[in-house]
Amino acid sequence: MAAIPEDFTGYIAVVKRDCATCRLIEPAIQALAGSRDLRLYSQDAPDFPASVSGVIDDRELERSYRLDIEIVPTLIFVEAGEERARLVGWQRASWRQLANLPELGADLPAFSPGCASKTVEPGMPEKLAYKFGDTVLQTRRVDVASQQDEHELMYERGWSDGLPLVPPTEERVLKMLAGTTRSPSEIIGVIPPDKVACTIEKVAINAVMAGCKPEYMPVVLAAVEAACLDEFCMHGILATTYFSGPIVIVNGPIADRIGMNSSHNVLGQGNRANSTIGRALQLVIRNVGGGLPGGVDRATLGQPGKLGFCFAERERDSYWESLAVERGFSPDQSTVTLFAGGGVHPVGDQKSRAPESLTRSLALTLQTVYHRKIYGRTDALLIVSPENMRVFREAGWTKARFRAALDEELTVDGHDVLAGADGIAEGMPDYLADKRLLKFRPGGLLIAHAGGAAGMWSAVITGWAGSGPGGSVPVTVAIKS
């Protein structure tokens, strides 16, 4: 339905009875209708204004939607089917000029602000976009029978990771898609393990189910893009018997903007963005990629973070450059870093006040990643808490100095960790007996600052057993709008 009839020349006014200004200016509208060609659309009552005949019922809001009405009253001047001018609210002088009626509204105040159009009430833009809009979603529809419980249907279809899902209705998905400027039909990547080309639309559906808000979409999309990078090797991370899943680390201004947690319980529950962004990525891998536990996902034990593991680095009071800055991005860029991580291993040291001592403590736990006697195989993510960071700040230790000191602590003589040494069959091969071995390959140790202000704890997260260029390396991508 065209909101403006072809070849129409005249005026269009959009009103609602619920608006005090619309009621106030009824005499002006009546006068306009009496002397000009006026099409009058009423959003909430076909008999309002009662003094004007031929009011057009727009309770379906289609005309208002197509005219892009945000405020009522709105007065539009149309010439040969083309909009020429638009006024919102009551401005007597402007209405007189536009209508070319110098006496219009003589008994009315000079100005009265309008009210919100019914088209912009909460949830309505998405409903109208779905009903009347041009966005065409390509996805197959699944009808839920009247006797059927939609939540049970989603479980039965295998869409869930075990937890309840938000039903992906068309309205919700359209609302989610409003969180990005990218086209729903854009292919964002090829999702393992089934190697399925994935559209932005499919990501939005899974983000709805995960519980995301539309403003998280750019982060979810960046995470999906990162997971599709060849060097991240998502297929291998999924297929491994090891514990790994994609951990999403968010840097930059977007983290605060969407309300992410980088403080107390940062790796735990309770923050919607942290809890749902990582979950959305995993649901994409499950539902689009076909990566199912017991199918291609062959994890022996897995870990609870595979439901979704996402957090923001605490940048606001960090003494060190952020993870993203270390990886070549600027502090004002928002990024997602993906790390193939296992569970969280706490480091407790209540006594170290000197950086040398604390470095040694942290190194003791880092040495246990994968196995105390295995070197150079598995990456790690070290999360330094604010209270531990304070020790380095007070001593003036830069991140680079900390890394150098850590490397020293993480280097051993090969013969100490050979297979069979200490009565343990596991270990490094004999030919490395005379070498000095470093625990982590270059670039294999990520360091981020996060956590609540109190508590002398840090955390070590093990990488994948297959870390490195032959397996998975951490990847960082910029978040687009």
Partner: protein, 91 residues
Amino acid sequence: MATLLDPTSELLPAQREVVPRPSSLSGARVALLDISKPRGDVFLDHLEAKLAQMGVASRRYRKPTFARVAPADLQHRIANECDAVIEALAD
């Protein structure tokens, strides 16, 4: 009635028929695929010897890394050159 959007790939699983198992290895060539996990070669050495005793031809292949799927050209080569494949999966 509610309508939901399907979050999956919407692909019916590609119905790729598994080639029937050969009823006999007589005249066949067997691919022995080492996925690069430790001691896979030991296992395949045994199989190679056994097959030789049985008069069955075999050919050895190796994935560059167990962490990644076999490169397409390797898959293609095995399919072209052999009639059956035995993979040494785990260490």
